[in-house]
């Protein structure tokens, strides 16, 4: 066959098997400069991160957020002040821009006061799920426009930090219900709140019991085992998975310890240093959320959770909890409503 006659039809243009050439033998080309180009571009555009904190009131959620980002994102509510207990579950969002060494981060923190505070907490996860889905919906609507923006604003929740009260026993039914539902829609990182009320041994036992509970109920918290891409990821994430849920303490006051100024909680029997690994695991949480896995959280939200939402939305949107501004994208099939299921084995459907 005449090799020149291989005019490929356009769709098969990537047919030839890739040949691997190593450039280094013959001289420097400069391909790795593309990394710098990427960095410059990313820094110019800025980053976005949306985090949600869920837990009963009094577990130190606002303090934790302030400690994580070392700034007064929120005025932490102190008990005893005349702040009325919200009668219903509300979602309260706050957006700030923080900058460090030229890197701009647009941080949105969503709080859920009133979660788990009522006598009857049935379906208290619905507003939260509705909010999460509403952000996916917003992104989807932007994405399917004919003339769309260059950069679609990302308001999707990248991470949900779930505060487990330090009972020391095991996960409560409310925790299990919530975690089960939310882990399918968003990255959930459970933490043991106010861990200074547990001793180290109690902490370990509590942690193991929680891990067992999670395994029994097949709840996959972040970092999910099924999304590990290669062996390095597996090793790194397994180490993290062993320590989940982290036992954390939040504090936004500074105290003097051994001549150093540290963030901590002062009690009659000592000062609990937030950044001291021997005292609590806050540094682990901070490293996971910010220093090492922030981009990964965003990627999994975009590539997995958002795509799952999109699939369900385009196929059987009547099964999803609805938020405001709902536009029906798929025709409702006749017959009784189906249960919202994990769309896994459907065959490919072209648009």
């Amino acid at each position: 066959m005449d090799p020149l006659r291989q005019s490929p039809s356009p769709s098969s243009s990537r047919a030839s098997s890739p040949r691997t050439f190593s450039c280094e033998r013959l001289g420097y080309v400069g391909i790795e400069a593309v990394l710098d180009q990427l960095k410059i571009k990313a820094m110019k555009m800025g980053f976005e991160f949306n985090i949600m904190v869920v837990g009963q009131s009094g577990l130190g959620k606002s303090t934790m957020v302030n400690t994580l980002f070392k700034s007064k994102i929120w005025k932490s509510t102190m008990p005893g002040l005349r702040v009325p207990m919200p009668q219903t579950l509300q979602l309260h969002s706050v957006t700030h821009v923080i900058e460090e060494n030229g890197v701009k981060l647009k941080l949105t923190v969503t709080d859920t006061p009133g979660f788990g505070d009522q006598i009857n907490n049935d379906k208290c996860w619905d507003p939260i799920l509705g909010y999460i889905n509403e952000q996916y919906e917003r992104y989807l609507q932007e994405e399917i426009l004919i003339t769309r923006q260059r950069h679609i604003p990302d308001t999707r929740v990248h991470c949900c930090v779930y505060f487990v009260p330090p009972t020391g026993h095991c996960l409560r039914p409310l925790d299990l219900e919530f975690l089960q539902r939310l882990c399918r829609a968003v990255n959930v990182v459970p933490v043991i709140a106010r861990a200074d009320s547990l001793t180290i041994e109690e902490r370990e036992a509590f942690r193991h019991r929680i891990q067992d509970d999670l395994k029994t109920h097949s709840i996959e918290v972040y970092p999910q085992k099924s999304f590990d891409e290669d062996i390095n990821d597996k090793i790194l994430n397994s180490k993290i998975r062993e320590r989940i849920p982290f036992a954390v303490v939040g504090a936004d006051r500074e105290h003097m310890v051994n001549g150093r100024c540290v963030l901590g909680r002062k009690t009659k029997w000592g000062i609990i240093e937030v950044e001291n690994m021997a005292h609590c695991e806050f540094p682990l949480l901070r490293d996971l959320l910010i220093r090492s896995h922030l981009q990964d959280l965003k990627d999994i939200t975009h590539n997995v959770h958002y795509e799952n939402y999109r699939i369900i939305r385009l196929k059987e949107s009547h099964a999803l909890p609805r938020g405001p501004g709902w536009v029906n994208l798929a025709p409702t099939p006749p017959g009784p409503g189906k249960v919202c299921r994990w769309a896994e084995d459907d065959s490919d459907e072209d648009f």
Binding site: C23, V34, A42, F69, T88, Q90, T147, R148, V327, D350
Partner: protein, 426 residues
Amino acid sequence: ICNSISRPTGEGCRTVPLAGHVGFDSLPDQLVNKSVSQGFCFNILCVGETGLGKSTLMDTLFNTKFEGEPATHTQPGVQLRSNTYDLQESNVGLKLTIVSTVGFGDQINKEDSYKPIVEFIDAQFEAYLQEELKIRRVLHTYHDSRIHACLYFIAPTGHSLKSLDLVTMKKLDSKVNIIPIIAKSDAISKSELTKFKIKITSELVSNGVQIYQFPTDDESVAEINGTMNAHLPFAVIGSTEELKIGNKMMKARQYPWGTVQVENEAHCDFVKLREMLIRVNMEDLREQTHSRHYELYRRCKLEEMGFKDTDPDSKPFSLQETYEAKRNEFLGELQKKEEEMRQMFVQRVKEKEAELKEAEKELHEKFDRLKKLHQDEKKKLEDKKKSLDDEVNAFKQRKTAAELLQSQGSQAGGSQTLKRDKEKKK
């Protein structure tokens, strides 16, 4: 449980000062690490007449010997040849696809020469659009085959652009980033080269051809990109042969009157091209392809299919809704056509039935008539037979009567009378 969501309106979010080192300045590194593990994709399209040194230039740019045989001049039409290579440099993996035109400019009638190229570029956009519109899609592992840069090779005539060049570039400028280069520029002298470049640039401008401009909005690269924009089109020479010049091995072409060094900026613009294409602007080329050319294609394609963003009542339409509406419309039409056909069929059947009934009736009538005829005939015959029988009977009677008389006459004595009777009878 009712829920109320309070959000700050608009972009008025305040900047909050940090009380210490948080650590998110590692974000760009996290992003870069992710991209490195995923690998990069870069697709170059080389458009130019046969023999202008496209493959050699690619070899020189990427310091590798890509396989391929030189094309002949006898191609009946323009075709595109595409090859994908996996290049690795330190820890960066690049999936490079090089697409070359084969037979461009060789035909006698070159009116349709640009068409295969445009179709190829559109096909890559189409493939990406199809993937994006799928319900179950894997965009982050999708092998992006869209053309990021088009190197247009201009023949070193020294005069001006050929009309084929102008026409082709005009057709391509809204679909791909065009970087025009003067090929085999060791055939032109320095002074001619400057005039040539000026002529080319003015022709491009007067014909409204939009070539790719290196971006000047970011301070770190604005200066170098700005100067490079002034050097377009780049005059390049390609060579993979290494010659010893001084005490170093360099890529060069040797002539009896001297040696042309490829990487010598005084000799040609190869270094500038490499700098711009790979080391400074590769990411921008990819981004322009995605956010400008691809979006334009997508918008045109979707509008062509009949989708709109808003309808007259300014209620936002959704693609799926419009799609469903169109589908139902189409199905309705199909159904209508089916109905029509069925009606026609029923009609025809009825007509045929009526015809057949008519025929049947006629046949019956004929049968009846014939039967009647037959019966009439039969009756006539029977009448005749009857009259014949009557005559025969009458004859017999007379015969017996005559015989009787005869016997009586013979007894009375007179055969004469018998004779007389016989004669009488006769």
